[in-house]
């Protein structure tokens, strides 16, 4: 702990700290250009040089360790002279004529002003050059302002671990290059924008995709962010996409969110201010012209004698059947011609926005979809919705109503909505899309450890874990910021084991890649456990002290020798052994999984087997040995936590317990009997012919595209007596609604979200919702009051106070505590409690404090390939899109990157089928058929195909198998049998001759 003096101030710093650290600790601003927190120090700009007493030369404060009794002068004559020298040298190749008189535009120009350096260029040296990105949809370069600080190079290499950028050439010819050929696509760019974030001059900047008012008052289409004049305000928000929970700063100008900026890297945020392409460039859907700005009521509804009635005749006058409209069913559209480009044109031409046009013009909601609706007032829609909900409750009983809540909405909104249906309607038919993602994880974790969330934190995986075992999670695409953290962990020296049927990016970086046949995870994991027991690598002390029923597992895994597991899974026995040993030896192994394990008809079994592996090796309850089911949506964890699932209230308190029911009923001011003690229906049970549900309220979900067997779902929703949808856009589901309530996007409301590591974070309102659209909380409050449930809240903060009162592990949570920091990881037991970064260090939250082993037998997936349907279909996400595409397909940058549906097909299979890259194929299953274009990819194994779930015009869920897991009722999205055939048509014929050539190129 050296003690030194910086500019006369005495400061003690930790060992290894630099002079710069010491100066920063006492708020002395030493100028830096190449230095950036958390990036490797390269010390190349030489502007931070300071004087140290007794040292004849200036020293680089960023790279020199502070030493005992050092006396540092940061603004000595020599230091200042050097800084002026550095700045004037940099200015010699900088477009100084662009520096605004009396102002500055960036970090560098700020320093020029601070040190009063003349900006006349004397040397006649040319402006700097470098690789430009002239036609890039979002990231642009202006290398004349590059000062070669190389922050971007290191941000790309060391934060995002991608390595697109580098310095080429030497001397004064040195320049920043994009890959070897200037093509970001070839260099593996993911458009995360980390380079934009760190650039001190705006040489690398982004494009603001919407029209903005420029400094001169004119509206400018697609402005460079570096030219954006001062914004009105910056508001801290939480990214609306995945479960990593990145904090982002929204920049508001003219009441429009014009730009996303990173929080400062040293702030306490789960993402250290990093984002992925979606977080930084994918939030412009908020301003999309498709946004619903006024409530809509289906034509045919009218008010007669004080009551709303539906006149089918009037509705049918336009030629539509009940709930019909002038559109194709999803199945019809999926078979149709794709108007959009078949594959990413940027693949072939890095400079080709031209052929694409402006994605904003490819409007996702066709005009005709609005035709069956008329614009209405809020009073009308509220009255109609309240009337129909109470009518159905009173005539058909509360069980005839159900609500789909939203993993995209805040905790407060979700809490109030389940409160409305439980307390106001009297039904537990409350569920949301967790059913389709991690319900089987929750079922297995509840059974084994009575828990429903991750045991640890993301940052321990990054910094502590020795072994990282990832199963069925394409983290670098689905949770890119966490994916980068994992890549950093591997760089640090952690061993990575990936189990995934596809050779995803992490698999390519893994030390061991287990590539099982989809759906055979139980055999794989049992085989690993078999070998661990055979080697005696299990943690006997942990098993004895912390668990019971181990014998059930010992017996269950006995038959699964690595050889037998190899036969079932297709993974070589040797690899299974190596993975097992590596994992068991740890010493700290983190276990991460996602949809690849859960979306199976045996999803609960699969997760249970994984939990057996975790428990048998004691890889839980220690810092570094984390168990993390990676959550898909920004608030899927929170929505479940606040009771948006049919069997529990907040904090997973069972609805079957009368005492707990009493607590909630009394809090809500309703009689206990109002709320049934029976568990409600789940998403997948509601959308069934046999379900009693006649009326539905849907907030921010699009089940018609996200449910398995879309045709069935579409048909089912049309048959409802009443459907109300609260959403941002007229989605595939909303088009069938009686009432459409325009809600608010994430930027338009204040609320809290829970990320995948139990971190509750506060997101602030940046702007008002457009037109007559309202905050979702406001809508729910009014509706609750209208159906007779007293709901007196004026703000989401007040709602959080009620949640905290009824939720033991959130007792210490309040908006005031969450404001301006990294949030709190629950359990937060009281107002002083600091939160919990990892759980289960001494006991599990079960009755006896012990976890339970559940031995599991392997069962094959419900539908396997056969002669008729020889391919195995796998579904999932892409980097640039999100779920049913409601948001991402309305984002300029994201839609430009992935404009249309594709099927990933192994080139060898493609050759057999006689199709090439970009050709259209028909993919069919026993349930449906879609036309889709081929993307040749060796990521998929032979006889397997992968189709992302985001596209209405080729909806993969037309094909998927609705077979359910018996415990969690999660459908088998990940495995079904399909046939792939070349789509016939003249276009395809013409392509045939070029096929051979293309295949040899792959």
């Amino acid at each position: 702990m050296p003690k030194l003096t910086v500019d006369g101030v005495t400061v003690t710093v930790p060992d290894g700290a630099t002079i710069l650290d010491a100066a920063r600790a006492v708020h002395i601003d030493v100028p830096t250009l190449c230095w950036y927190p958390k990036l490797p120090t390269v010390g190349n700009c030489r502007i931070c040089l300071v004087s140290v007493e007794g040292n004849p030369k200036l020293v680089a404060s960023c790279a020199t360790q502070a030493a005992e009794s050092m006396v540092v002068a940061t603004e000595s004559l020599a230091a200042v002279k050097n800084r002026q020298g550095v700045l004037s040298l940099l200015l010699e190749r900088y477009p100084t004529d662009q520096i605004p008189a009396g102002g500055y535009r960036n970090e560098f120009e700020q320093l020029v002003r601070r040190y009063d350096v003349p900006t006349d260029r004397r040397s006649g040296m040319p402006l700097r050059t470098g690789d430009e990105r002239d036609n890039d949809p979002v990231i642009r370069h202006d290398m004349s302002t590059c000062i070669l600080c190389t922050r971007c190079v290191r941000a790309c290499e060391d934060i995002q671990v991608v390595g697109v950028l580098d310095v080429a050439n030497r001397g004064d010819h040195a320049e920043i290059i994009v890959g070897a050929d200037g093509n970001p696509e070839h260099a593996g760019c993911t458009w995360c924008g980390e380079c934009v974030r760190v650039c001190p001059t705006g040489a690398i900047h982004d494009i603001i995709p919407m029209a903005v008012r420029a400094a001169n008052g004119n509206m400018v289409d697609r402005m460079r962010s570096k030219d954006l004049p001062v914004v009105d305000r910056t508001v801290r928000s939480v990214c609306p996409y995945c479960g990593v929970g990145c904090q982002i700063d929204l920049e508001v100008r003219d009441e429009t969110v014009v730009h996303v900026r990173s929080p400062w890297i040293e702030e306490n945020t789960p993402n250290n201010g990093s984002t992925c392409v979606k977080g930084r460039f994918g939030t412009d859907f908020v301003q999309h012209r498709d946004r619903l700005t006024t409530p809509l009521i289906r034509r045919g509804w009218s008010k007669r004698d004080g009551r709303w009635v539906f006149d089918p005749v009037e509705h049918a006058r336009a030629g539509w059947q009940r709930r019909g409209g002038p559109w194709d069913l999803v199945q019809e559209e999926s078979m149709g011609k794709k108007r959009r480009p078949k594959s990413n044109p940027l693949d072939t031409s890095p400079s080709g926005m031209g052929s694409l046009g402006d994605p904003r013009d490819r409007v996702a909601t066709p005009k005709s979809w609005y035709e069956p609706f008329r614009e209405a007032t809020w009073d009308e829609v509220m009255e109609l919705t309240a009337q129909e909900l109470t009518r159905l409750r009173d005539t058909n009983g509360p069980a005839s109503l159900a609500v789909f809540q939203s993993a995209k909405c805040s905790n407060e909104e979700n809490y109030l909505l389940q409160r409305m249906f439980r307390g106001g309607i009297g039904t537990n038919n409350v569920d949301h899309c967790t059913r389709l993602c991690h319900s089987s994880s929750v079922a297995a974790m509840q059974r084994s450890m009575n828990t429903s969330a991750a045991s640890g934190s993301m940052r321990e995986v990054e910094t502590e874990s020795d072994v990282i075992f990832i199963l069925g999670a394409n983290t670098t695409e689905s949770h890119p910021v966490f994916g980068a953290a994992i890549k950093r962990a591997v760089k640090r020296g952690a061993t990575l084991i990936v189990a995934d049927p596809r050779r995803i990016e992490l698999a390519a970086r893994a030390h061991i890649h287990l590539q099982p046949v989809p759906g055979t995870d139980v055999a794989l994991l049992n085989g690993m456990l078999h070998h661990i027991l055979a080697m005696g690598l299990e943690d006997t002390a942990f098993i004895a002290a912390r668990t019971h029923d181990f014998d059930s597992v010992r017996d269950a895994v006995k038959p699964y020798t690595p050889e037998r597991a190899a036969t079932i899974t297709g993974v070589p026995a040797e690899l299974i052994r190596r993975a097992a040993e590596t994992y068991a030896r740890g010493p700290r192994s983190a276990t991460l999984w996602a949809m690849g394990l859960t979306q199976h008809s045996t999803g609960t079994d699969i997760v249970a087997t994984l939990l057996n592996l975790i428990l048998a090796t004691g890889m839980i309850g220690r810092w570094g040995a984390a168990m993390i089911p990676i959550r898909g949506q920004n608030n899927v964890q929170g929505a479940s936590d606040v009771g948006a699932i049919p069997m529990v209230y907040t904090d997973y308190q069972p609805v079957t317990d009368p005492a707990i029911r009493h607590l909630f009923a009394s809090t809500w001011g309703v009689p206990d009997e109002r709320i049934p003690l029976a568990v409600g229906l789940k998403v997948t049970q509601i959308v069934q012919e046999t379900s009693p549900v006649r009326g539905m309220y849907i907030m921010g979900e699009n089940p018609i595209l996200s449910d398995p067997e879309v045709s069935h779902a579409e048909h089912w929703f049309r048959e409802l007596e009443f459907l109300a949808v609260q959403d941002l856009f007229l989605t595939e589901t909303a088009r069938y609604a009686d009432v459409v309530l325009p809600g608010a996007a994430f930027a338009e409301k204040t609320g809290t979200f829970v990320n995948t590591e139990r971190r509750i974070q506060l997101s602030h309102k940046a702007i008002d919702p457009p037109g007559k659209a309202r905050g979702d909380l406001e809508i729910i409050i009014e509706l609750s009051n209208r159906i007779g449930l007293h709901t007196p809240f004026a703000s989401s903060a007040e709602v959080m106070d009620e949640i905290a009162r009824v939720t033991p592990s959130w007792r210490g949570v309040s908006h005031a505590r969450l404001d301006g920091n990294g949030g709190l990881q629950y359990p937060v037991l009281n107002a002083e409690h600091p939160g919990t970064d990892f759980l289960f260090d001494d006991r599990f939250p079960t009755a006896d404090g012990k976890a339970r082993f559940v031995g599991v037998e392997f069962l094959p997936p419900a539908e396997l390939p056969d002669e008729e349907y020889p391919f195995m279909l796998n579904t999932g996400r892409q980097m640039y899109h999100w779920h049913t595409g409601t948001m991402t397909r309305r984002s300029f940058a994201l839609d430009a990157r992935e404009p249309g549906p594709i099927v990933e097909l192994n080139p060898a299979d493609a050759l057999e089928l006689g199709v090439g890259d970009g050709d259209e194929v028909r993919v069919s299953s026993r349930r449906g058929e879609i036309r889709i274009s081929v993307r040749l990819s060796t990521r998929v194994a032979r006889r397997q195909v992968f189709i992302p779930m985001h596209y209405r015009e080729a909806a993969v869920n037309l094909l998927t198998n609705p077979e359910l897991d018996p415990y969690a009722h999660i459908p088998e999205f990940k495995v079904c049998a399909v046939a792939v055939a070349k789509a016939t048509g003249r276009q395809e014929e013409a392509r045939g001759s070029r096929l051979e050539a293309r295949h040899s190129a792959v």
């Binding site: 700009c45 030489r46 040089l49 020298g85 040298l89 310095v167």
Partner: protein, 438 residues
């Protein structure tokens, strides 16, 4: 003086004794000449004992900095459980220097032997010889010799039957001057861009692949076997009587306007005047010496008067305001234009700057631009101030000393030959060559 000429009688040939003898390149030929006796002896010794002998000899780094070799070796913490590495810096790129080239061409086994001894002395099992990309012939010779030595078991897993592993690998550079800087060399060896690293950490703490590393010049390592065989005292005695700090023999590469350019091996402290006129044969007929850059292009220029008064060792060169450097002696006669020579040097540094540090990247380029403008007769008086300003900016402020090296000849040239610069500026004319004095 090196092949094809016979050595001058006043030379002390230790390293250059076998230059020109083709047979010395082979293992057998080398053994006949006493080769590998030192290695055999060293492998039976305690590493610290070897270090002590080298310390006693007073051997200092021949790459330019002149750091005591034995002391450098003793920084390597023996038995720390980490792999140690020896790097041999054979990236001889300093303009005017060509001594290592001759060592490798003629006595490759001397270098291999030196590497093996040094590796053993610092607890390393692996030595890398990083050879300059342009050295095609030395590379071939070295690779052949290493293969021969490895096949004969002289080096390898059981070097000379000692049970100790000493591997020597030859790695070819790709033509960057900066890779002769020790940390850039390590980056380059690791497969990275050859940018110098920030020091500390010094190589002895974290060098090649982040492990403790010692890096020595070819000539330094080639001298080690002789020291081991003949003893530290023998080497130490080859010095100027009044300066025991510089010992042994030194190879001088002489080029430029002398009658007999080439490599000369003389004892430390040799009088420069006699060296220039007797050994090198003085200026070309009818010319007079004007200036000397005695230590490779990076050191300050001195006038011939200063040179004539100097002694050829580390301290002797410092005494006249320059440095021994790599002993690449560039001699200029009265026909040479100093501004033009300086401009040429600056151009070299601008081309070779790795482009990390601002001062170097921009400073070398701007300096070159100004100097070339002056040489072309388009300079202004203000340019001279700018040059000095720039030089000040470029000195002592960067990660490595490349920019200092660029500034040194500029500043010394301006100081010692200001009239030549001023003449070009005021007369707006190119340099005129004086007539030959009969």
């Amino acid at each position: 003086m090196g092949f094809p000429f016979k050595p001058h009688p006043r030379e002390s040939t230790v390293l250059s004794k076998h230059f020109g003898e083709a047979e010395a390149r082979t293992l057998d030929g080398w053994k006949v000449r006493g080769g590998y006796r030192a290695l055999e002896q060293a492998l039976g010794m305690d590493p610290v004992a070897i270090q002590n002998i080298v310390k006693e000899s007073g051997l200092r780094g021949r790459g330019g900095a002149g750091f005591p070799t034995g002391l450098k070796w003793s920084f390597m913490k023996l038995g720390d459980g980490k792999p140690h590495y020896l790097c041999c810096n054979a990236d001889e790129s300093e303009p005017g220097t060509f001594k290592d080239r001759e060592i490798m061409r003629w006595t490759p086994h001397a270098l291999i032997e030196g590497c093996a001894i040094a590796a053993h002395a610092i607890g390393a099992e692996t030595a890398y010889i990083y050879i300059r990309g342009e050295f095609t012939e030395p590379l071939e010779v070295m690779e052949r010799a290493v293969a021969e030595a490895r096949n004969a078991g002289v080096i390898g897993p059981n070097a000379m039957g000692s049970g100790k592993r000493v591997d020597v690998w030859v790695h070819k550079g790709a033509g960057a001057y900066i890779c002769g800087e020790e940390t850039a060399l390590m980056n380059s060896l690791e497969g990275k861009r050859g940018n110098p690293r920030i020091k500390p950490p010094f190589p002895a703490a974290a060098g090649l692949f982040g492990m403790p590393t010692t890096i020595n010049n070819v000539e330094t390592l080639a001298a080690v076997p002789h020291i081991l065989v003949n003893g530290g005292a023998w080497y130490k005695n080859m010095a100027r009587a009044d300066n025991p700090k510089s010992t042994g023999t030194k190879l001088w590469s002489v080029c430029g306007n002398v009658s007999r350019p080439g490599n000369y091996e003389v004892q430390m402290g040799f009088p420069f005047r006699e060296f220039l006129y007797d050994l090198c044969g003085g200026p070309p007929r009818g010319r007079t010496f004007k200036a000397v850059i005695p230590g490779g292009s990076s050191v300050p220029i001195i006038t011939i008067a200063e040179a004539e008064a100097a002694f050829m060792d580390y301290e002797g060169m410092v005494a006249v305001g320059t440095m021994l450097g790599s002993a690449g002696c560039i001699v200029m006669d009265d026909a040479q234009s100093i501004p033009r020579q300086v401009a040429r040097l600056a151009r070299f540094y601008a081309h070779e700057s790795c482009a990390q540090c601002t001062q170097c990247r921009e400073g070398t380029a701007w300096t070159t631009k100004i100097l070339e403008r002056i040489v072309a007769g388009d300079g202004t008086a203000e340019d001279l101030d700018t040059l000095l300003d720039l030089a000040d900016n470029m000195t002592g402020k960067t990660i490595c000393v490349l920019s200092d090296s660029c500034a040194a000849p500029v500043v010394s040239g301006l100081q010692k030959f200001p009239d030549e610069f001023k003449a070009l500026i005021t007369r707006k004319t190119v340099h005129t060559v004086p007539a030959i004095v009969a």
